[in-house]
Symmetry: C2
Subunit: 578 residues, 2 copies
C-alpha cells in the first residue's frame, strides 16, 4: 500500500445517496468522470475482474462460447429491427466523418443474430450459445447510485440459438442454473422473480433481483417463496358460480354518482337492505390500443373491481406489443355511447367494443356497475348471465395482502436491484433477420432464440450494497481485491520485516494479499483496512515479539491470536487457496 | 470443433489486401461489422486475450498499476488541452440527451493527468506508473488492412509520473525494456526506431516497428543496426574546413537559370574550367513559421544542397511546435528583396531573415547560390567566410545510400507497422492540468510525464502478417488459440475415441488443445488445421492401430511418428506446459 495508487476519503462524496456508492468512492475503488460514467482504480478493477472471471467460468461451463462485438455499431442492423427509433433518447447516436450514422451498443440482439446467420447454415450447426462481456452504453435519464445505474457499464450478454422450442427451454434452463451458481458464488441474497412477456405469451422470462431496500425494482413475494414482478403477478380467479337463484339485475336512479365513492355512499343510503363496498362495484375503464406499426386505434374496455385502480404498467405489459393510450375528450365525443362515469358492459357489447375483465369478475359474480346513462347504475348485474366479457386481463393493481397465485400466502412488496435476466425471446429477431437453418429435410427451419444478461459492473455495487457495515465494505472471499490484508502495526524494524515476510510467504502460497506497509499510524491503517473490506485482516504488531499475530474476521469482528509459525498454513486453509 | 462457433472460408474476402486480413477472416478469427470495426469470433478472441495477458504480465512486472477509464468521455478535459479541436475529424464526437458534448477516447492523457491530480498530493506519493488495456476510438480517414488500422481497437496505454527528469528517464527505460520483452515473447521481428520530438528537443521518443513490407510506416536502417524514422535521421556534418586559400566568391550573369538544372547546365557550358553538379549548389527555400497560438508569421530561410528537396515533414518536425507554411505570392510581393529563383544568403542577412542550413553546409564549404537579383548567381560563396547561417536544421530529404549518423553504413528504406511507442512527454500535460506535488521543502514540484502505448488488437494482425504461409496462419506457441490441434483422420470409432482420449489427456495435463472431431474428410480437416495455424498438429489416423500418431510442426512442416503412449509427455515438453 506504500506504492498502491490509492487515496481513501474520510468524507462521503456529495452526490452519493446509497451506501455502496459512498463506500466505493471513499475506499478508492471508483471515481466519477461524468454523470453515470466512472473510472476504475486498482482496487475496484480487481473486484470487477474477479466477478468477470466467475461469470466467464460459469458461462464456459454450460458450453457458451465467448465472442466480442464492437461497442461502436452502424445504424443499419438497428434500423432493420426498428430499435434505432424505438430506443429513443436512451440511445447514444453519433456520426462518423463521412456522415454515416452510428450508435453505441445498448444491447446486441441484432449483431448476435447477424453473426449466426453469417456463419451457420445447416441444422447440424445448432444449437449454439454465444456470449460476450463488454461495455454497454445507455443514456439513462437519471443515472444514479454510482455504478448501480451507469451510462457506460460492463455487461455479460448471451444468446441461445435453437431449432426447437424444447431446445430453447433447455438453453434457458442451462442459463438459469448458471446464473444461480454465479450469484451464489458471489454470496448474494437474491430472488428469482417471474417476469412476463405480456400478450405474446408462452415465453418464459425471469429476473434475478438482489434484495436491497435501496433497489429501484419493486417486486412482490409471499411467505411461501413466491416472487414476481408486479407485472407478472396473476390473480387467482374465484370458481365459477351457478347463476340460478341469483336476484335479477335492477336499474337504479343514482343521481350525482360518477365516482365509486359517491356511488357506494348513495347505495348504502338508498334503503336497499344491504351494505355495499367498493369491492362490489365493477369499474369499466376505457382505453385505446393499436398494433405496433399500425395507425389504427381501437377501443378496449377494461373491467376491474371498483376498489382497485387499473395499473397502467400491468395493463401495458398485458397488451404488449400493442400500444395503449387513455381516451381524450375527442374520443368520448366521437363515441357518444360512452357515458363518462356510468359506462356499463351493455353499451360496450352493443357497440362491438372488446371488453376484458379482471379474473375476479368470474362467471356467477354479481356487480353494481354503470347503466350507460347519466345518473344511473345497475345492481346485481351477473357475469355470465347479464354480460359476457371477451376474456380476462391482468390490469388491476396488486396490493400487499393479496393472495399469491400459487397459494403460498399473502403478498408483500419488496425492493431489489436487477442483476440478471433470462428471457425466451422466441423468433422475433430471427424473423426480422430471416435467420433459418436448412433442415434435415431440406426445408428451412426458423431459429428460436433466448436472451440472457448479467450486469457485471453493477454487481460490484450490488455486493457492496448488501455487504458492508458502518466502517466500510466487506467482500466475499475470492471476490475482493485481496483475501488477506496484512497490517504492519508498529514502527520497529522487526515488525515491518515480519509483515513483509508474512506477505511474501502468503503470496508464494498463492494467497492474494494486500500489505499495509505505509508510514502511518495504526489507527489510520485499521480504519482503512475496515473501509477497504478485505475479508481477513492480519495485524502484525507488538505480539510478534511473543511469536503471535492477530487474525481478524472483517465481517464478524472476531479476533484470534495465531502463532507466526502457523499463520500461513492457517490462512491458506481459511482462504481455501488449496 | 464439432461445436465450435467457426466457419472457415475458401475465398479471400473481397475487401482484403494484406495477408493478415485475408487469413484472419478466412480462418474465422474476425468479422467486419463496418469500415475499421470488427467482431472477434472465438478463435480470434482467444489470441487477443493471450496477447493481452503477455502485455499485462510485463506491465505488472515493472510495477505499473492497472486502472480503467471510460471510453465515453466528457468534452471538458479535452477542451482544456485544446485537443477537442486539434483532433479534427479523427475524433468521434457525440451529444448526450441533455445536449452535453462527449467524445470516444482516442487516447487518455487528460484523464490520467486528472486522476493523478485527484488522488496524489505529496512528493512521497511519487513516482507512479499507471496503465489500462482498453478500447480506443479514432475515426481514421482510411481504415485499412482489417484490424491493422481499425476505428475501434484495443490498446494498452500507460503513463509515468515523476518528480525529476532522472525519474522520467528511469520510467522510460522500464517501459522500453518491458516492450522489448513483450515483443520478444510474441516472436515478432521488429526494430526500435528513433523518433524525434522536434524542436522541443531533449525528450526521448522511440517507436517499435514490426518489419512488414505491407506496413504503412517508412523508416531507414543501416547494415550496422541503426534504425530511425525518416524525421529522426540526423545528417553527419563534414568537419569544418579552413577558408584560407579558397578562391574568392564571383558573381556571374546566368540568364534564365531559375532552377538548379538550368543553372548547372549553364555553368557547365560557361567555360569556367570546372564541372558543377547539383550537389555543388545551395538552394534557399523560404517558408514562414509562427509559434502555436500566435498570429504572427515570421520568415525563415532554409538552405539545402541543390541536389536535395526540402522534406516538409522533416522540416515540420524540426520546427515543432511552431507551424510552418510555404510563402504565397502576397508574401513575395511584401518582401521584394526575395528574388524568386535567385535568393541568396546575403539578402536574408541584410533583411534580418533567420537562415538555417542543412548540416552539410559546414564552415569552409563553397557553394553556387543566388545573387539576389534576377539571372545572377554567385560561385564559390564560402560558408563561414561569405555568409554565416543562424544554425543548422534537419530538413533535407533522406535518401537511400546516405550514411547512417552513427557510422554504421549506408541507409536503406524499409517499411514497418507501429506496434509500440515510448515517449517522454515532459511537462506539457502537467502544465495544462497544473499537476504539482508538494515537495519536501513545502514548495510545489511540477510533475514530468511519460506516455507509452502498445496496439494490442493490432498485434493480432501484425503476428499474422509476419507469420503465415500460403496455407494459412502460423501462431507462436502460447499465443495461438491452442497449442496443439488434434485432427481425427478416419471414420472408425477407434480413431474417434483415440482422438478424444488424447485431447482429454492433453487438456488434463494443462495443454491448450483444439480437437477436430467433425464429420468431415481428412482433406478438409488438414486444410483447416493449416489455415487456423495452431503450431503443433497431431493426426490421429490409421497409424493408431499400430500405436502411433503423427506430430507435425505447422511452421517447418516436419512430421514425426510418436507412440501413443509417449505422445502426451512429448507434447507437454514441446509446448513447455511445465
Amino acid at each position: 500500500m506504500s506504492s498502491l495508487f490509492l487515496r481513501t476519503l474520510r468524507e462521503d462524496p456529495a452526490d452519493a445517496e446509497v451506501p455502496s456508492h459512498k463506500l466505493l468512492v471513499r475506499a478508492g475503488y471508483v471515481r466519477r468522470v461524468a454523470p453515470g460514467i466512472y473510472s476504475w482504480l486498482p482496487l475496484g478493477l480487481r473486484v470487477l475482474r474477479n466477478i468477470e472471471r466467475v461469470v466467464r467460468e460459469e458461462m464456459d461451463a454450460i458450453g457458451a462460447q465467448e465472442i466480442q462485438f464492437p461497442a461502436l455499431l452502424p445504424r443499419e442492423p438497428y434500423e432493420a429491427t426498428n430499435r434505432w427509433t424505438e430506443y429513443g433518447p436512451n440511445l447514444f447516436r453519433l456520426k462518423d466523418r463521412r456522415g454515416g450514422d452510428y450508435l453505441l451498443g445498448p444491447t446486441h440482439e441484432e449483431l448476435f443474430t447477424q453473426v449466426v446467420k453469417g456463419e451457420y447454415a445447416s441444422y447440424k450447426d445448432y444449437p449454439v450459445m454465444l456470449y460476450q462481456i463488454q461495455n454497454k452504453y445507455r443514456d439513462e435519464a437519471r443515472p444514479r447510485a454510482g455504478i448501480l445505474r451507469g451510462r457506460e457499464f460492463l455487461m455479460k450478454d448471451s444468446y441461445s440459438f435453437d431449432l426447437t422450442d424444447e431446445g430453447l427451454a433447455e438453453s434457458y434452463r442451462l442459463h438459469r442454473d448458471a446464473y444461480v451458481r454465479i450469484f451464489d458464488r458471489l454470496g448474494l441474497e437474491y430472488v428469482v422473480v417471474k417476469a412476463t412477456s405480456g400478450a405474446m405469451g408462452g415465453s418464459a422470462s425471469e429476473e434475478f433481483l438482489a434484495v436491497a431496500p435501496t433497489g429501484e425494482d419493486t417486486y412482490v413475494r409471499s411467505p411461501g417463496g413466491y416472487a414476481a414482478n408486479v407485472e407478472a403477478v396473476t390473480t387467482p380467479a374465484p370458481p365459477a358460480r351457478p347463476v340460478d337463484g341469483l336476484p335479477a339485475a335492477q336499474a337504479h336512479h343514482t343521481p350525482d354518482t360518477p365516482t365509486i365513492e359517491t356511488l357506494v355512499d348513495f347505495l348504502n343510503g338508498a334503503g336497499l337492505g344491504r351494505t355495499f363496498t367498493a369491492a362490489d362495484t365493477l369499474k369499466n375503464v376505457l382505453v385505446k390500443t393499436r398494433a405496433p406499426g399500425s395507425g389504427e386505434w381501437t377501443l378496449l374496455g377494461v373491467g376491474v373491481p371498483g376498489d382497485r385502480e387499473v395499473d397502467m404498467k400491468r395493463l401495458e405489459v398485458a397488451l404488449e406489443p400493442a400500444e395503449v393510450a387513455l381516451l381524450d375528450e375527442a374520443d368520448f365525443a366521437a363515441h357518444p355511447f360512452l357515458v363518462k362515469g356510468y359506462i356499463g358492459p351493455s353499451a360496450l357489447a352493443a357497440n362491438g367494443v372488446r371488453f376484458l375483465v379482471d379474473p375476479r369478475i368470474a362467471p356467477g359474480t354479481a356487480w353494481v356497475t354503470g347503466a350507460d346513462k347519466p345518473d344511473h347504475h345497475v345492481v346485481d348485474l351477473v357475469c355470465g348471465r347479464d354480460f359476457t366479457p371477451d376474456g380476462t386481463i391482468e390490469a388491476a393493481e396488486v396490493r400487499e395482502g393479496d393472495p399469491a397465485p400459487d397459494g403460498s400466502g399473502p403478498l408483500e412488496a419488496a425492493r431489489g436491484i436487477e442483476i440478471g435476466h433470462v428471457f425466451q425471446l422466441g423468433r422475433k429477431y430471427a424473423d426480422a433477420a430471416q435467420l433459418d437453418a436448412l433442415g434435415a429435410d431440406g426445408k428451412p427451419v426458423r431459429i428460436t432464440m433466448g436472451s440472457y444478461g448479467v450486469g457485471v459492473s453493477r454487481l460490484v455495487g450490488v455486493i457492496a450494497e448488501q455487504s458492508h457495515d458502518e466502517s466500510g465494505l466487506i467482500w466475499p472471499r475470492g471476490i475482493g481485491p485481496a483475501d488477506v490484508h496484512v497490517v504492519v502495526a508498529g514502527k520497529s524494524e522487526e515488525i515491518a520485516a515480519g509483515g513483509e515476510r508474512l506477505a511474501a510467504e502468503l503470496d508464494a502460497a498463492g494467497v492474494r494479499v494486500l500489505l499495509d506497509d505505509r508510514k502511518a499510524s495504526p489507527g489510520v491503517k485499521f480504519a482503512d483496512a475496515e473501509l477497504i473490506g478485505v475479508p481477513t485482516i492480519v495485524v502484525v504488531g507488538r505480539g510478534l515479539a511473543n511469536g503471535v499475530v492477530e487474525v481478524k474476521d472483517r465481517r464478524s469482528g472476531e479476533r484470534q491470536e495465531i502463532a507466526v509459525d502457523a499463520v500461513v498454513e492457517h490462512l491458506v486453509e481459511l482462504t481455501g487457496t488449496r
